[in-house]
Symmetry: C2
């Protein structure tokens, strides 16, 4: 199959529909976990840089690429981010009661200080109008999330692990790190060599919540 | 490596760090496009079902799995969704002027009626408190986006293509489809066999926006 459309693969997309590639992807998706236990082994800077090139391939609405990444290895910065986590966790536990709160208190929910690498992924609102955002402006933030979701798989395929810590105060992280003017932290990610390779989500294993089939309607 | 931790892979995660799997993932990420041109070939129901099992592997904050999927094959429904797109596009073009508006008008931004399969992926707010959402409640919607981002890769690996149409009015889609009580459409996705395999994002190729390197700060 050859093509004269500008920018088209002359012989079709490499690997498209190959069973080997498909099986690899499903293996990676199935073994991807939200890690909270890491070994202290450092992650080489060139590995982090290679992983971050996922952002150059990731989808974004109107090709807006509305993101910025801060790589955190400074222990003092990690400690400050972890203080924000501790405050938020203390507030969150109040939202559960009885046995649920006891179970909540027993869970490890982050590895901010023990993971060798932390990433602050920020949303950077573009100047002017962005194609594709008129009825769903949140598509801009969703673009950042798509990139993070692809990064998660790339980290897994590297034999490393990633944990997304959503229990931090974005404004406090913005002031601590700091992030560029106008940028808003959307995720704090821990990356390193996993100390455990769980076959199921931990929250499923401990009985906090069961993994379910997706509910689908056909029309 | 053997393990006694409940739920842990006894011999490590299958495929973790294997160069073949890693290369496959990067190939899939590099060839993934936001497709707007499909062939009429139908997508078998069992293929759609298999692809949707991505939702069972995808990450979600607090294992909330806050999603619902409606699969659309009915041409009349597609036509109604496309009418919503046409209205939003008409509004959006006003946000650009001069040569930008001319270029905007020349772009194909959806394939709602021509793609054999449409998906409405909805956010379903969970009852009660969800672990991990106290400082960043949007993490719930972000979970839906993570699943969509993984689905995008699975569709690509299948030799199919996906396009995310963000230019529809979520309330109108909710009323048209309809979606379950309390659910809110977060994405309309077109799936089918791509008619073109572009090597770069179309918006890059036509000069609407340039693909850029990610901006990274080290701390």
């Amino acid at each position: 199959m050859t093509s004269d459309v500008p920018g088209e693969y002359p012989d079709g997309a490499p690997g498209a529909g190959a069973a080997g590639d498909r099986d690899a992807l499903w293996r990676i998706m199935a073994t991807r976990r939200d890690h909270r236990h890491f070994r202290p082994d450092p992650v080489p800077r060139e590995t982090v840089e290679r992983l971050l090139s996922v952002f150059e391939l990731a989808p974004s609405v109107g090709l807006s690429q509305p993101w910025h990444v801060t790589v955190i290895t400074d222990p003092a910065l990690k400690r400050e981010v972890r203080e924000s986590f501790a405050d938020v966790r203390e507030r969150e536990r109040e939202r559960f009661s009885g046995g649920r709160r006891e179970l909540y208190d027993s869970l490890t929910l982050e590895a901010i200080e023990t993971a060798p690498v932390g990433l602050v992924v920020s949303f950077v609102p573009p100047d002017g109008a962005t194609l594709g955002t008129t009825s769903m402006p949140a598509a801009l933030e969703y673009s950042v999330v798509c990139a993070i979701a692809h990064l998660w798989l790339a980290v897994t395929a590297e034999g490393l692990g990633m944990g997304w810590v959503s229990l931090v105060d974005p404004e406090r992280v913005a002031a601590t790190v700091p992030v560029p003017e106008g940028a808003r932290p959307l995720a704090y990610l821990c990356i390193g060599t996993p100390a455990r390779q769980l076959a199921e989500p931990l929250l499923h294993t401990v009985g906090w919540k069961r993994r379910q089939n997706v509910d689908v309607t056909w029309r």
